[in-house]
């Protein structure tokens, strides 16, 4: 009950013309950025981060939250109409969305995605309203050792989830740690690892780093595909012609509700995110009855993954706000943004900044409604948005990268950092090394390091502090399982293969 009261007070915070305006702006920009193939929510949030400087922290994070959230809607547009997922969670949407569009029902496919996203999102938000503060209450019991163990567990799972190669995942995660070590020491405040460079004394600026790693590197990569022809629907899409029949709606509703719960559960787990939820939602649907086989344009297929990914996006705010652990690269950008505005996500956020925490949760509810309204309203114009040639997007995004990187530090140092990490990101992409774990560890490194060092100071250097509480033992046990999982999988596969051969 107390949570609902706090949520209502959160609505009070959001219902100002300014906050509603930024929520609307975030939702519109998120939808456009999400719909454009090749940009995605991570690069979108990174590129739009500088726009939030003008706002107070609450308005800024409301805008970013709305942007992230409506991105999930936008990602489905290009997946359904072009078979090009705008973002990784939309990969599964394309499996049934594109065949449904090919069957002459592109509008219905978009409607299915939009309504499922909305239902899944609401489920995620309602659960977030209760799990967020509960998780924070658990977090309040954490000491430095438990917090450090939790961070290790979250980072291990992230490295494993975001790449198919554990070695590459670990390399990129640990590199993020090293990069974050440049600048000021978190505990003593003394400069370290600046290698005599005065610019590095302040560390690597977060915004240029993110813009370069995910934005500029993507621009370089887009060069090859810039003349690729995309086949857009020939018939004009209208809102009336896209309406779902009662039968279609009845098909999507139970699937969206079921996937919404599943997606939220995945989202709340530290280290997982919308992409994992979409995959699991789709996989789970295979176990249930669908009117048409999955992969042939089934309403159930679109509903399963869209509801799951939006629910996970909402659910992932629980560990982000309550424990300071993001579930995805985009979550890391949001966390970085929060820290930039002086807020420290973690167990104390709900106690120390309730206006902010509840305002953000309330804004997600509003963003969900706004995103649905915009997503429906944009259907007649979506073909025009998707028709913007990639060859024009390359110089345009380059310009945004430059001005965005400059505006954070008002110095060319930011631009240089952006270009350097753009090249690093490009090389990592070529070497098939995932970039998102590096962003996550870059953001989490200061919190992890200060907790780890505090734990060692408390125990006077004894490692036993990490095994003195049940919680940290559980976290470390799960970490060990995550590390061993690929090897166990390999052994199981080999045993199975030798059995079938025999």
């Amino acid at each position: 009950m107390e949570n609902l009261q706090m949520l209502l007070s959160g609505f009070g915070t959001v219902f100002t013309p300014m906050n509603l305006g930024v929520c609307l702006l975030g939702a519109i920009l998120g939808l456009i950025v999400g719909a454009m193939p090749g940009i995605g929510s991570l690069a979108g949030c990174a590129l739009l981060l500088p726009l939030t400087y003008k706002f107070d922290p609450t308005a800024a994070i409301i805008m970013l939250g709305a942007l992230y959230y409506s991105n999930m809607y936008g990602g489905a547009f290009s997946a359904i109409l072009l078979n090009i997922p705008g973002d990784s969670p939309a990969v599964m949407t394309a499996l049934d969305g594109y065949p449904m569009a090919k069957k002459g029902q592109p509008g219905q496919a978009l409607m299915t995605a939009n309504f499922s996203s909305c239902i899944g999102g609401f489920i995620g938000m309602i659960i977030l309203t209760f799990t967020g503060p509960a998780l924070a209450n658990v977090g309040l019991k954490f000491g430095p050792a438990e917090m450090a163990a939790l961070m290790i567990m979250a980072l291990t799972s992230i490295g494993w989830l975001l790449g198919d190669d554990p070695i590459k995942g670990t390399i990129t995660t640990l590199l993020g740690f090293l990069l974050a070590a440049i600048g000021m020491d978190t505990l003593s405040g003394s400069p370290r690892f600046n290698f005599g460079n005065i610019y590095l004394m302040g560390g690597i600026s977060f915004v240029p780093f993110v813009i370069g790693t995910v934005g500029f590197s993507q621009v370089i990569g887009l060069m090859v595909d810039r003349y690729k022809e995309t086949e857009l629907p020939k018939d004009k899409l209208t809102l009336r012609g896209s309406m779902l029949t009662g039968h279609q709606f009845r098909r999507l509703l139970p699937v969206a509700i079921r996937s919404g719960f599943l997606g939220t559960f995945v989202g709340v787990l530290p280290g997982s995110g919308a992409t994992t939820a979409a995959f699991l939602g789709y996989a789970a649907q295979k176990g249930f009855k669908s009117e048409e086989p999955l992969g042939t344009g089934a309403v159930e297929g679109i509903a399963a993954c869209e509801a799951a990914n939006n629910a996970a996006a909402a659910g992932s705010f629980a560990p982000l706000l309550a424990l300071g652990i993001p579930g995805s690269g985009t979550g890391a950008v949001l966390l970085g943004g929060l820290m930039m505005w002086g807020l420290n996500p973690g167990p104390l956020l709900f106690t120390n900044s309730p206006d902010f925490a509840w305002g953000l949760i309330a804004s997600l509810f509003i963003a969900n409604v706004i995103a649905l309204a915009i997503a429906l309203g944009v259907i007649p114009f979506i073909v025009k948005i998707l028709a913007v040639p990639v060859k024009y997007m390359i110089p345009a995004i380059t310009v945004i990268c430059f001005v965005g990187a400059y505006s954070t530090s008002n110095s060319m140092y930011g631009v240089v950092i952006m270009v350097i990490f753009g090249i690093v990101g490009y090389l990592f992409n070529k070497a098939h090394i995932p970039l998102a774990p590096m962003l996550l560890s870059f953001v989490l490194a200061p919190i992890f390091e200060s907790n780890l060092r505090k734990a060692f100071i408390m125990s006077q250097g004894s490692v036993s502090i990490f095994f003195s509480s049940t919680l940290s033992c559980v976290f470390l046990g799960i970490t060990l399982l995550l590390i061993l999982a690929p090897t166990i999988k390999k052994i199981v596969r080999k045993v199975k293969a030798s059995k079938t051969q025999a």
């Binding site: 400087y53 640990l174 370089i220 098939h432």
Partner: protein, 150 residues
Amino acid sequence: MSKFGVKQIVPLAIAAICVLFIYTGLTKFGFWDATSGPTPAFVPTIISVVLFVICVLGFITSFKDTKESKFYKEEFLVIGAAVLIIAATFLIGLLPSLAVFLVLWLKLVEKTPWKTTIIILLFLMALVIGVFVLWLGVPFPEGLIMDLIG
């Protein structure tokens, strides 16, 4: 077995960075202080050692990686353009450099008609000036030439 390329260069380069961190950390800050416990280099040194080992592993296993890593000439055009924009900023400032880049890119690389080029230029410059200069009040650098004139 794949040839020597970016998949091998990346772990090697990161391993070299690890060596630099370990050396700087241990020589400048030490690892553990008898009175105050872990030094500022404590965590970075541990991370560097682990990362170094994993990079070596990554280097060895990279030869078994059969995924293709192809580089294209056009991709380097963007990097070259970025370097030129930075260089030109010191002369004519950031916003004029970006305007020149837009025109040159659209005309020379994409062979865009003048009409489209001007529309894109005006749209983007209006967006940048409107949002970043007028709204956010970002003081963009004006460059050596403007400084001399001003």
